[in-house]
Symmetry: C2
C-alpha cells in the first residue's frame, strides 16, 4: 500500500478527531436568544452565494438550515477590481471548502441578521466564523447526480439508484418523519388500550391459500423450506388461544405477487387481535385509533365513522371502497327508462346514473372525453348517455331521439338533479355497469375538484360476503380469509347451499376511497373451521397439513376473537397526501422487485447453493 | 354435509352471539369497592373445587384470577348422603361446564369473601352467579397435554409443540409482558432523544463476509436471490449519509448458523446509529438507555457504567465480557513461582491465579471437582494448583513439595489473600490459560453464590482490536465488522504492517458477563473503507460487487457516524433473570431450526419450485 494513501487516510481521520465535540447545536435550533453565543454546527452545504467580500453558506441538517456568513477579513471593498491577490487566494481557499453537499463543521458567533428570512425557523440569525480555519471540511462530495431540492431534476430510476441522496431531500425526509410519527402514535394508542406487542416469527410455513409465498431454503433441513409470512394471521389467533387477549405488532409482511405500480413485495402492517369481543368492540377500538392518528399526527378531529354495508357500497358507489369525500351516489333508472324504443336501455339488466352537480355546461369536447374515458379497455363501457339540465329548465341529452323532455325530467327528479347539473348514465350487465360507473364517478369527482388530498372521509364497510365463487377454477374462495366467521343468522344457507348469500363478520376501513384496513371476527369453533376448509376445497389431509396446528389449538379452549390489519405504508401515504407509497418507504423496490441501489436480488455462489441443497433451473 | 353438524355449528355460534357484551371486567380487576355490582367475566377454568353444596372455580385471564362461587340452591346440606336426585343432577350439569381450560362467560354479583386470599389481587372478593344458567361455556377444551401451571409437568418438546398452551402459563406470559415493556421503554427513551424509527428492508443482498445468509429465490428475477439481513448495518449507515442523524429500529435479523443452545435463526436487535458524534457521545447516549430500562422496567438505579479496555478485560478476567458482579481478578504469578523446581510452572508462558474468598476449607472432594472441571475437554487445562490459606496462618497446597510456606505466603500476598481464602492457579500458554481461568472464575463465582440473577453489573469494554488473524484461513478478519474505524493514533501500524496492534473505535456493553450490545464508530472515508476491504482480502471487484453502493455513497458527503446494536432477546432474558432466551420469544425454533408447533420448514410443491426456477438437489 502506497504511503501517500496512508498519509491521506491519517490526515482525513485527524480532521474528524481533532475536536472533541462535533457540534453544540443543530442547524434548526438557533434563535434570536442565542445571539452572541459561540456555537459549532455540522451539516451539508446546501447553497453558496458569493457576494463580494462575503460568502453566504446555507448549512443543512435533518433539523433545518442555518445561514453562515463568512467575511474575508482583509477587504470589505465591494469593487472586485480592487481585490488584492491575498484576498483572491483566501476566497479561493474558502470556496474550495464549500462544494455542493460537502460535510462541514463550522464554529462561529451567532449574530442577528440585518434582514431576517421569515421562511426559515433560524431566519433571524446567522453564524459568523472567526476565520476560514473555523470551517472544517469533515468530508468532501462529488457533484450529486441530481439536485438535492424539493423539485429535483432526478428521474425515478436515478433517484432510486442513489436513494441515499434522494432521502436528503426535504420532501422525502418529511415523509419518513411522518411515518415515524404514525408508528409512534399507533403504539401510544394501542399501549394505552392494553394491547401487548408480540413479535411473531418471520420464518414460517408455506401455505397454498392466498397469494404466492416467498420461500427460504433450509440448510439444516434438506429439501425443506420456510416461507415468509403474508401476515401473522394464524400466529395472532394462536396468541388469542394463549389468552393474550389484546395483541398488536407493526410488522413486515411479504407477498410474491406480480407487482403493479405501488405494490411492494415487502410491506408493513399494523396487525391487531382481540379476545372476548364482538364486531362492535373492534369497530369502536379502531375508530379510536384512527381518531387518535388524525388528531396527533394531522391535528384533525374526525367525527364518528359512518358505517355502510357492502351491499349499499356496491349499490350506491359500485365499489367496496367508496370515496365518500363527495356524494354523487348511484341512482337506478332501469324501471323508468325502459320501453321508449331505446334498444340499449331496453335490453340492459341495469341502467344507472350519477348526477354531477353544476356540470351541465360541459362542452361537447368534455363530454366526448368522458365517453372516451368509459370506453377505454380498462373500463370497457360501450357508451355513455348524458343529460344536461339546462339553467332554463330544459334538458339536452344524447338520447333526445328516444326520450321526451318529460321523460328526461322524470330522470332528473329521480336523481335529485337541479338546473345546472349533468346526468351521466351507463347501462348493461349489472355487475360490470356498477364497476364502470364507479370509475366514471371517481373521474368526475377529480374533474370537479371534489377529491382534495387534505380532506379526509373515513367509513367502515361492513357485512362482506363470506365466499366468492371463482368461475374459472369452479370453486369457492374466502373473500377475506378462511378464518373469517359467518354471520350466525346466515348460517342456514349452509343447509340450503346458497353459499354466496352468507355474510361474514368482516369489515374494512376505507379512507378517501382507499381500503386502509380490514379484518373480521374469526371462527373459534373447530367444527366450523373444518367445515370452512371443506367448502374451500381442502381435503381433511390438506387442512391438517397446512393448518393442523390451528385446528389443534381450537381443541383447547379458544376464546371468541377477532382483529384487523392496516396497511401501514398506504396509511402513511394517505396521511402524507400522496398517491404513491414508495416515498414513504426508506428503501423501496421497483416494479420488478429489484432494489436498484444495492442491486438485489443477485446471483449467489455455487457453494451457497450446494449448502442449501438446491440448484438453479433456468426456464430459458 | 350432515345436518346435525350444521346444527352443532349454529348452536355453537348462538352461544357466543346471544349476549351482546362479552365481559364487563377482567379477571384481575375486581376489588372490595365493586361489592354488590353485577358483573360479567370471561376466562379459562384454572381449578375447580367441589365442596358439598358449593363449587368454587378459579377463572383465569391475562389480567389475573377471580374466584367464582356457585351454590346449588336447593340444598345446603353438608351431608352428601342427604343430596336429592335433583341436586345431584344439577351438580352434574354444573361440573360438566367446568372442565379444565374450558372458556366461560360468567355473570354474577360481586361479594366479599369470608376469608380473603392475600396472594391474589382479587382475593377479597368472589363472584356469585344467580344460577347455573349464568355460566355459559363459550368453548370446551380437551384435557391439555400438560398442566397450565408455573411448575408444569410438560417437557421441552411437548411445551414447544403446544406452545399456544405453554404461553398460557403465568411465567411465560410474564416474560413476554416484560419484553413488551422493554420495547416500549426503549422506544420511549430513543424517541425522547430525537431518534427516528426507520424500517430497513428485509429482502436484501447476500454478502459473503460474516455468518451464513438465509436466501430467498426471486421468481421475477430468475436465478437470482435475495438474502435476509444479518443486521441492517449498511442501511443504517446509508441513512446517516442521507442525513437522518439519529436512527433506531427494533428489528428482526437472521443468521443461518449451526444453532447452539440458545441461538435462534431469527433474533431481534435494538439497532441504532448516530451522526456527528464520537465514541463518547455513543457511550453516554446508550448508558442512558440502559439506565432508563433498569429504572422503568426493574425499578433499579444503575450508577454510571464503568469502562474497561479490552486489554484489561483479558488481563484481569480472561474474557472480553467479564462478569463483574464479583471481583476475583486474575493475578499473574509467573515471576514469583519460577525456579523452584516445579517443572510445570517453570516451563509455562503464564502462571495466573484467582483468590476465592473464604473457600480455604474446601474439602478434598470439592477440590477434586474443581480439578475435574478445568480438565474437561471443553476447558482443556492440564491441572489445577491450589493453596489453602488456613485460618491459623499456615498454607496447604497441592505443590507443597516444591514451595515453602514462605513461597506460598508470597503468593498470598501478591494475590491480596487473607486467612480463610483459597488460591486457584493455572499455567501454560498465555491465551489458553486465561480462557481456562475465566471458566474457573465463573464456576467459583457460581459456587460461592456471587452470581445472583437479581444483581446487575454493567460495564463498557472498549478498545477492541480492529483485526484478528485467522491461522487456518491465513487472513485477517474484522473483529467487529469491516465498517469499524481504527483509532487514528494506531493508524501508523498500517505502515509498519503490525495490523494486530491496531485498536478499533469499538465498544461492547456487558451485563453480568453477557455481551448485550456492541458497536463502533464507522469508517466514513471511502479511501479507508477501500483499504479495509483490501486488508480483509476482497479484490477491488468483489468489494465493488458487494459493497459498491456503500462506497459510492461515501463519495457524496458521508458524515462522521457510529452506532450500536443490542441483542434484544438476550437483554430481555437478562432482565427476566433467566438463562435461556427461548422463553422470551413467543414462537421460538428448536436447535435444528424447526418450529415444531407449525412443523416448519416443510416441503413445498413442485409447482412452487418450478415457478422459482430451482430444484431440490439432495446431498444424500
Amino acid at each position: 500500500m502506497h504511503p501517500s494513501i496512508i498519509e491521506g487516510i491519517i490526515e482525513f481521520e485527524r480532521r474528524y478527531y481533532r475536536k472533541f465535540m462535533l457540534r453544540t447545536h443543530t442547524c434548526g435550533e438557533l434563535r434570536i436568544e442565542h445571539i452572541d453565543k459561540k456555537v459549532k454546527l455540522c451539516g451539508w452545504v446546501q447553497t453558496v452565494r458569493d457576494i463580494g467580500p462575503f460568502v453566504f453558506v446555507d448549512l443543512r441538517d435533518r433539523y433545518g438550515i442555518t445561514q453562515i456568513r463568512v467575511a474575508i477579513k482583509d477587504s470589505f471593498d465591494t469593487n472586485t477590481e480592487n481585490y488584492t491577490e491575498d484576498f483572491k487566494s483566501k476566497k479561493k481557499e474558502l470556496l474550495n471548502k464549500l462544494g455542493r453537499e460537502y460535510v462541514l463543521q463550522i464554529e462561529g458567533i451567532v449574530e442577528k441578521r440585518t434582514e431576517s428570512n421569515p421562511n426559515l425557523d433560524t431566519g433571524e440569525i446567522e453564524i459568523i466564523p472567526n476565520s476560514i480555519d473555523d470551517i472544517i471540511v469533515l468530508n468532501k462530495s462529488e457533484v450529486p447526480p441530481f439536485k438535492i431540492e424539493d423539485n429535483t431534476d432526478g428521474g425515478d430510476e436515478l433517484r432510486m439508484k442513489y436513494r441515499y441522496l434522494d432521502l436528503r431531500r426535504n420532501v422525502v425526509r418529511e415523509n419518513l418523519m411522518l411515518r415515524h410519527k404514525m408508528a409512534k402514535a399507533t403504539r401510544q394508542y394501542l399501549d394505552d388500550q392494553n394491547f401487548i406487542e408480540v413479535e411473531t416469527p418471520v420464518l414460517i410455513k408455506s401455505t397454498p391459500e392466498g397469494a404466492r409465498d416467498f420461500v427460504v431454503p433450509s440448510r439444516m433441513n434438506e429439501g425443506q423450506f420456510y416461507a415468509l409470512p403474508q401476515s401473522p394471521q394464524t400466529f395472532k389467533q394462536l396468541l388469542m388461544v394463549s389468552g393474550f387477549d389484546r395483541y398488536y405488532q407493526i410488522v413486515k409482511c411479504f407477498r410474491d405477487e406480480d407487482l403493479r405500480a405501488d405494490r411492494q413485495p415487502e410491506f408493513t402492517q399494523i396487525d391487531c387481535e382481540m379476545s372476548f369481543i364482538e364486531q362492535e368492540d373492534i369497530l369502536n377500538t379502531f375508530e379510536g385509533l384512527v381518531h387518535h392518528l388524525f388528531k396527533t399526527v394531522k391535528g384533525i378531529e374526525i367525527t364518528s365513522l359512518p358505517r355502510m354495508t357492502y351491499a349499499d357500497a356496491m349499490k350506491f358507489y359500485g365499489s367496496d371502497k367508496p370515496d365518500t369525500r363527495f356524494e354523487m351516489k348511484f341512482v337506478e333508472l332501469t324501471d323508468i327508462v325502459k320501453n321508449k324504443g331505446f334498444q340499449v336501455f331496453d335490453s340492459a339488466e341495469l341502467v344507472v346514473g350519477i348526477c354531477a352537480k353544476g356540470a351541465s355546461e360541459y362542452t361537447r369536447k368534455q363530454l366526448d372525453e368522458l365517453t372516451d374515458f368509459v370506453k377505454r379497455p380498462q373500463i370497457g363501457a360501450k357508451g355513455l348517455v348524458y343529460v344536461q339540465c339546462k339553467t332554463d329548465g330544459t334538458f339536452k341529452s344524447s338520447v333526445d331521439k328516444f326520450y321526451s323532455q318529460e321523460d328526461l325530467k322524470a330522470w332528473a327528479t329521480a336523481m335529485n338533479a337541479e338546473a345546472g347539473d349533468l346526468l351521466l348514465v351507463l347501462s348493461g350487465d349489472e355487475h360490470k355497469t356498477r364497476k364502470q360507473l364507479n370509475e366514471l364517478r371517481l373521474e368526475m369527482g377529480t374533474r370537479l375538484g371534489l377529491r382534495d388530498k387534505n380532506t379526509f372521509s373515513c367509513l367502515w364497510v361492513l357485512d362482506f360476503p363470506l365466499l366468492e365463487f371463482d368461475e374459472e377454477q369452479n370453486r369457492w374462495f374466502a373473500m377475506h380469509h378462511p378464518f373469517t366467521s359467518p354471520k350466525p343468522e346466515d348460517l342456514h344457507y349452509l343447509e340450503t347451499g346458497d353459499l354466496g348469500k352468507i355474510r361474514a363478520n368482516a369489515y374494512d376501513m376505507v379512507i378517501n376511497g382507499v381500503e386502509v384496513g380490514g379484518g373480521s371476527i374469526r371462527i373459534f369453533d373447530k367444527t366450523l373451521q373444518a367445515k370452512m376448509f371443506e367448502i374451500l376445497g381442502f381435503t381433511a389431509e390438506q387442512a391438517e397439513a397446512q393448518f393442523g396446528f390451528l385446528m389443534n389449538a381450537f381443541k383447547y379452549g379458544a376464546p371468541p376473537h377477532g382483529g384487523i390489519a392496516f396497511g401501514f405504508d398506504r396509511l402513511c401515504s394517505l396521511f402524507g397526501g400522496a398517491d404513491s407509497i414508495r416515498d414513504f418507504i426508506a428503501f423501496p423496490k421497483n416494479n420488478s422487485g429489484r432494489d436498484v441501489m444495492i442491486d438485489s436480488p443477485s446471483e449467489i455462489s455455487e457453494e451457497q447453493l450446494k449448502e442449501l441443497s438446491i440448484l438453479v433451473n433456468m426456464k430459458k
